[in-house]
């Protein structure tokens, strides 16, 4: 009976190799470009091979050895994950390769890991942390913050979460190896998206009227008209959700408005 690829109820028994700090620096900076060759064939695959390559140089025989070439071929094949949480996979796969885990087990692990890393990351980052950071900085704009402060708030807040997630992922992937699954059950990843969603909902409530008021720079009656109109239109958009892309609708309506402004 073969060992399960993604079962992590038990710690990974493979020995923990050691890597120089410079190698970790190279792996981490490459993680920032993991989507550089993203395509519809191998998705993130080439990026994973690119990121894990500095660590694989420590395989027996170095970059010219058979072990290195076989590992590179494996790690550059099809893979999909959220780009930030792909750091978990890179750390775990680097450890597995350097520990001499059998190829079939690594391949099964890769296949099993892709789904969870994609869905958790999408919910936590794209549908949570990003809109939250965006809405907080829009609220700051509404409260009168100057341009530099508005973009500063956004970049610092967003990237605090962004870099923390990448560093945590690489660290937990490396330390847990193929036994990384319990780390994905971390309360931050399981319950985090719901907490961030609630915070973002509150931030949206604060930001929308404030941002509208500052941008309009008009009287309260104009603001009231805009907010009531927006609420009615939003209710309509929720009803037709999935059938209309918001930005295309706005593009068409503003184009018509512009045309009217010119021809009347």
């Amino acid at each position: 009976m073969t060992a399960p690829a993604f079962n992590a109820a038990v710690p990974d028994p493979s020995p923990v190799p050691s890597l120089p700090a410079w190698t970790w620096f190279k792996v981490f900076t490459r993680l920032l470009a993991i989507q550089g060759a993203w395509n519809y064939e191998t998705l993130l695959g080439n990026g994973v091979g690119f990121c894990v390559e500095p660590a694989l140089r420590f395989l027996p025989g170095g970059v010219h050895g058979t072990a290195f070439k076989q590992a590179m071929a494996r790690e550059s094949s099809y893979f999909n994950a959220h780009p930030y949480l792909a750091s978990v996979a890179v750390g775990a796969l680097a450890r597995a390769e350097l520990s001499g885990v059998p190829a079939e087990r690594i391949e099964r692990f890769r296949t099993a890991l892709a789904g969870p890393l994609g869905s958790v990351g999408d919910r936590l980052v794209w549908a949570g942390w990003l809109p939250f950071a965006s809405l907080v900085s829009l609220a700051a704009f509404g409260l009168g913050a100057r341009p530099l402060l508005v973009i500063g708030i956004f970049l610092v807040l967003y990237n605090a979460g962004h870099f923390a997630l990448r560093i945590w992922g690489l660290r937990v992937g490396w330390t847990r190896g193929l036994a990384v699954a319990p780390a994905l059950g971390n309360p931050l990843l399981r319950r985090g998206p719901a907490h961030v969603a609630r915070a973002a909902a509150a931030a949206a409530g604060v930001a929308l009227p404030l941002a509208a008021a500052r941008l309009l720079d008009g009287g309260p009656s104009l603001l009231a008209i805009v907010l009531v109109g927006a609420a009615l239109l939003a209710a309509l958009l929720v009803r037709v959700h999935g059938r209309v892309e918001g930005y295309k609708l706005v593009l068409v309506l503003i184009a018509l408005f512009a045309l009217l402004s010119v021809v009347r």
Partner: protein, 225 residues
């Protein structure tokens, strides 16, 4: 159009951030449009366009292989146009937003083409990839990054070169008042953001009450000012 070269470079750097490197989200409209505005001398006008676009962009969830507008280069074009038109009497933010939305639409198409190009390159080098050739893996990654940067620079250059003269003519003939122009744009953007907030967050328990509480706080803050 002396500003075209610096804007193209900014568009390239910002466009690269959208997907490829480093995804620090300085490609978000709020940041990119403000930077573009600063490049042509009016960061505040760029910020106003950035705020409107950011509200609209909240609805965009860049999940996996989904198709989505490219907001980075688009925000550079829109922010720069609005900032350049700041001496016009009205409509500069509306025109900037219009230019950005059109560019974002085309930009989304260019992202799809880039991914197809990357797939073509990977297919051509498949034997080397299957042999674990280190140089091929690194080369494909660098080719993808370079292609994306060139894509974003070309998109910004072409969009600005075409849309800026149109925007100048449009602004010259703009007949609606400034408050009316901004009201229409803001109403649409706020509606998109509110509907997106509902769609994204409503499944979280109690999120609607958090939203309602936030609206109350926002309105109280407005009254207090």
């Amino acid at each position: 159009m002396r500003e075209l070269l610096p804007l193209s470079l900014l568009g390239a750097v910002v466009g690269l951030d959208v997907v490829c490197f480093p995804q620090m989200m300085y490609s978000r409209p709020l940041v990119a449009a403000t930077l573009a505005g600063a490049f042509v001398g009016d960061a505040t006008r760029g910020l106003l366009v950035g705020v409107v676009l950011e509200l609209i962009a909240i609805a965009t969830l860049p999940f996996g292989a989904s198709r989505y507008p490219e907001w980075g280069s688009a925000a550079v074009v829109g922010g720069a146009i609005a900032a350049t038109l700041h001496t016009e009497r009205a409509g500069e933010v509306t025109i900037g937003v219009l230019a950005a939305l059109a560019t974002a639409w085309v930009g989304g198409w260019t992202l799809v083409k880039l991914r197809q190009w990357n797939a073509y390159l990977a297919q051509r080098r498949r034997p080397a990839l299957e042999a674990g050739a280190r140089g091929t893996v690194i080369g494909l990654q660098l080719a993808g990054l370079t292609s994306d940067m060139v894509r974003a620079a070309l998109l910004t250059t072409v969009a600005y070169a075409i849309l800026f003269p149109v925007a100048v003519r449009l602004a010259g003939q703009w007949s609606f008042s400034g408050p009316l122009s901004r009201s229409v744009v803001m109403m649409l953007a706020t509606a998109i953001a509110a509907s997106a907030a509902w769609v994204i967050f409503h499944s979280a328990r109690g999120a609607r009450w958090y939203f309602a509480g936030g609206v109350v706080v926002g309105l109280l803050l407005l009254l207090a000012r």
